[in-house]
C-alpha cells in the first residue's frame, strides 16, 4: 500500500506507538514501522518529517540531539506524557472506526 492511501492521522498514531516503545531518530522510526508491518508500510521522508513536526508542535513528542547506539549524532524523539495520553485515545478511536468499517463491509459482502 502506498503511503498516500493512509487514513489521515494514522501515520501520527503509528509514530506515537513506535515512540512509546523506545526513543528513536527519524530513520529508525521509519525502519521500525516497516519492520512491524512486515514490509507493507514504507514511510518516505516526505511524509515522515512533516508528521514528526506535527507531533512536536502538538507537544506529543520531544526532540533532542544525541548519539545513537552506533555512536552517530542524530535527533532523537521521545514520547511525552501528553503523547502517551493521545496515543491511548487515538488508538481506541482508530479501533472503533476500523471495527465499524469492517462490519459494514462484512454486512454488505456478497453471501
Amino acid at each position: 500500500m502506498s503511503r498516500n492511501d493512509l487514513f489521515p492521522g494514522t501515520l501520527d498514531l503509528m509514530i506515537l506507538r513506535v515512540l512509546a516503545h523506545q526513543t528513536l531518530h527519524g530513520y529508525g522510526i521509519a525502519q521500525q514501522i516497516k519492520s512491524w508491518s512486515q514490509g507493507a508500510l514504507e514511510v518516505g521522508e516526505g511524509s515522515l518529517y512533516p508528521a514528526l513536526q506535527r507531533l512536536l508542535e502538538r507537544g506529543d513528542a520531544r526532540a533532542e540531539w544525541g548519539t545513537t547506539s552506533t555512536g552517530r549524532r542524530a535527533r532523537l524523539y521521545t514520547l511525552t506524557a501528553a503523547g502517551a495520553r493521545r496515543l491511548e485515545r487515538d488508538e481506541k478511536a482508530f479501533e472503533a472506526q476500523v471495527t465499524a468499517i469492517r462490519r459494514v463491509l462484512l454486512a454488505g459482502a456478497p453471501a
Binding site: 531518530h25 527519524g26 530513520y27 525502519q31 518516505g44 521522508e45 516526505g46 511524509s47 518529517y49 512533516p50 514528526l52 513536526q53 506535527r54 512536536l56 508542535e57 502538538r58 507537544g59 552517530r72 549524532r73 542524530a74 535527533r75
Partner: protein, 912 residues
Amino acid sequence: MIGRFIRRLHHLAARRRFEQELDEELRIHFEMKVEQAVASGVPLEEARRRARREMGNLTRAREQARSAWGWDWWDGLRQDLRFASRSLRRQPGFACAAVATLILGIGANATVFSLARAVVLDGLALDRPDEVYAVGDPQTLATEWGTWDTDGYERSADLLSLPMFRTLRHEQQVFGNLAAFSSFTRRGYWRVAGGDGPRDVGTLRLVSGNFFEMLGLEASRGRNLADEDDAPGAPLAVVVSERFWRRKLHQVPDVVGRQLEVNDRVLTVIGVAAAGFDGVHVDQTIDFWMPLSAHANLLGLEDRSSSPNVMWLRAAGRRSGGIDEGVTEQATARFRDAVRAEGNLSEDEAERLDRTVLTLSPLARGLSRSRHDLERPLELLASVAVLVLLMACANVANLQLARARRREREIAARLALGASRRRVIGQLLTESSILALLGAAGGLALATWGGKILVRLLIASDSVLADRTDLDVRLLAFALLTAGITVLLFGLVPALRATGRPLVPSLRDGGLGRPTRPRVAPGSALVVIQVALSLVLILAAGLMLRTLHQLRGIDPGFIGDSVVIVEIDPQAGGSDGADPTRLERLYEGVLERIGSLPGVNAASASLYPMLSGRGWTTSLHAADSAVDPEERNVRILTVRGTHFETFQIPLLTGEAIDGSEGAEGARQVAVVNEVMARHFWGMTDVVGRRFGFEPEDPHEIEIVGVVSDHRFDGVRDDIAPMIYLPFAQVQTPLQSIEARITGMDPEAALGAVRRAIGAAEPQLPIVRAQAVPQILEEQLAEARALTRLLTVFGLVALVLVAIGLYGVLSYGVTERAREIGIRLALGARRGHVEGFILRRALGLVAVGCVLGVGCALALARMIRSLLYDLEPHDPTTLVATLAVVGAVGLAASWLPARRAARVDPQRVLRAD
C-alpha cells in the same frame, strides 16, 4: 493550549535554527539509508545513487514540515509585503500618483468626519448621560428663545418662570431630579476683588442649586453649587469652569474662597467645575455659574426674575428608564398643574395651556446651535467627500488595471508554476493595502489640519470646537475603515481580472496577440463614472460661485461705506445700567465727543447693531389696518441721533426722527419702513396714521415718516416690517454706536471712535468694533467658505478626471498598438487615427456628462437651500460646467491621440 502557543512562538523566533536542524536531520537520514544499503551488500556508489533517487526532491517535505507550525500565513504576508514594496519602488510614478490620489480621497472624508464628530457626535461628559433630558425641542433649546405659538395649535413649552420651576420641581414625579438653567448667558465683566485694573470679560450662566448634582458632575476643586446657595439672602457664590481657572486665574491653588468682582458685585468662588465641562451648550464656553437667586443682583434689570410672567428658565432632569409617550403625558400634566397653581390665568391663557405639551429631548450630546446650522453644509460636504473618494478609487483602480495588464506575463507565469489564485490575489491586494494605508496616514494628517480650518471657516474663527477636531481613536478607526473600503473598491476587481485571464496567450506574448473584444473595458466605465462625479462637483462649485456673486450684489438698502459700528454694553455696570437719566447722559456725552472728531458726517446710537441678527420683535395694533391678527409682528429699533443720515437711508415721505421726540408728555411718534406700511395699510403714504402696542391701548403713536426698506436681520433675510422709535420715548439701553466718518481708513476711524467713547465713559465696556463693509463681508462667510471648498474639490476632481481619461486612452493605445500599426500600414491616414481616439474620448465624456447631469438633478435638494436666488438646474451654470468638463476631456485626450497617430507600423508589427 498555552504550551502549544509558546512552542509555536518559540519556533517562530528560532526559524533559522529550525531550518538548519531539519536539513541536518535529512542529511543524516540519507546517510543512514546509504549505510544500511551498503551493509546489505550494495556498493557505495550504487547505494548513494539509489538513496538519492528515493529521497528525491525534498522541497515539498520541507514545506510541509514548516507548515506544521502554523505560520504559513505569516510567511506569506511577509513575502507579499516585501515583494509589494519592491514592486512599488520599481514604479515610483505609479505609487506616488496612487498614494497622492488616495490621500486626497481618504483625507477629504476624514476631515469631514472629524468636523461631524466635533459637532454632531461628541457628547457631554456626564454621569450616565443617557438618563438626562431637557424640556423642550432640541433646536429651540440651543437658542435663547422659546417657540412661538405660530400655528395656534400645539405649543411646546420650553421656557419656565422661576415660581413655575419651583412648583414643578416640587410636584413633578417624572424626573428624579429636576434642575433649571437660564436660557441666556450674560457677559460678566470681572476682575479680582479689590483690584482696580481693567476688567476682563467672561460668560456667565445662572443655574439652580441642584444643577451640578443633577448632571452628576463632581467639582475638581472645592464644591459645586448646592441648594443652600440658591436661597434668597445666601452669600453670593460662583463656580468657575476649569478652563477659566486654568487660563484666566493661572491655576492658583487657593482659588476656593477667593473673591471676584463680577459686574460690580463681589462674589466668592466656592469651587472649580469638573475639567472638560464647559456647560450644557456644546459650542459655548461658560466661565461662571451662579445660582438663580443671583439674577437680581447681577444683571442690572429690575428684579422681575421671580415674577410668574417672566419666562427665562430651561428645565432638565434625570430619569432612569427612558422616555415614552406615557412619561411625556405625565410630565405635561404636572406642568399644567404647576401653571394653574399660579392662578391668574385668563380664559385665553387657560385654553392655550391645555394645548401646550412638553417635549423631552435627550441632553446626552449637549445643546448646539451650530449643529442645526451646520446640518445642511455638513450633509453637502459629506456627499462631496464621498464623491471625491469614489473618484480617487476609480482613478487608482484604473492605474491598477493598467499596471496589472503590463504584469500579465509575470502573473501568468506564477499561476502556471503552481501558485494558487488566492495567493496571487493576496499578493496584489497586499500591494493595494500598502497604498491604502499610506493614503490613510496622509489623509489623517490632512484631516487634523483640515478639520481646524473647516471649523474656522464654517463656525467661527474662535470656536472651541476647533479643539475637538484632533486625532482620536474614532478618527483613526474611520480612516482605517475608509482605507479598507478603498482597497476593496480599487484593488479587488483588478486583482480578480488579472488572475482570471487564460494562461497560454498571456504567457506567449503578454496577450497582445489577442483580438480586441468589442465589449466595454472596465477602465472606460470608471472614467465615465469619474466624469459624472466631477461634473456634479463642478456644477456645485459653479452654483455656489454664482450664489456668492449674487449675495455680494445684494443692495442692503443703506450705504455702509465709511460707516463704523461700535457695540457697547451699557448694562454692564450693574442695576443702575438701565436708569434712563444715566443712559441719556451717557449717549449725549458719547455722541458729542464723536461728533467733534474730524471727518464725522453723522453719529447716532441705536438699539442693536445693524445685521447683528438681534432684534426686538413685538406685535402692534392698528384699528384701521386690515392685516391678519396673527401677522402683526414688527421689529422695533429705538434710535438716538441722526440714525438715517448715518446710514444714508432715504426718507420717502414725512420727516425723520432724531431720538429727542416723544419725551414725557409730548406726542408719541414713530417712523416706519415701506414693508410695514404696505403690510398694515397696503400703501406707503401712511404719515399721520396711528397705532398702539396693546389692543386696549389708545392708539397714540403717530407715524411721522416713512423710510426706504433696508436689510436689518441679515443680508440674506427678508426685510421685516420695522418701526423706529425715538430714545426719549422708549428708553431702552442702546447697544450700537454708529458714525459715518469720511477721510479716514476704517482702522483709524474705529480707533478714533473707540477713544472718544473711552474718553466720555471710561467704564463703558466695548464689546466689538467693526466697519460696516466688514460686517457685510462676514455675512457671506458661510457661502464663501463653501464656495472655496467646493471649488477646491471641483478642481481636484477635474485633475483626477484628466489623469483618468489620459490613463485609459493611452492604455487603449498600447493595447491596440498592433491594430493601429496594421491599419496605418494598410493605408489609413494619421488624421483618421487621431480622430478615432478623440471621438472615443468625447464619447466617454459625453456619456459621463449625461450620467452626471442625472446625478446632479437627483442631488439638487441638498444644495438648494444654500443657494440664493438660483435654482440647482440653472441653465447658464450647467452649460458652463459642460463646457469646462468637455474642454478638460479634449485636453486630456490630445496626447494619447498624437501618440496613436505616431505609432510606427514597422516597429509594432515586428515580434514583440
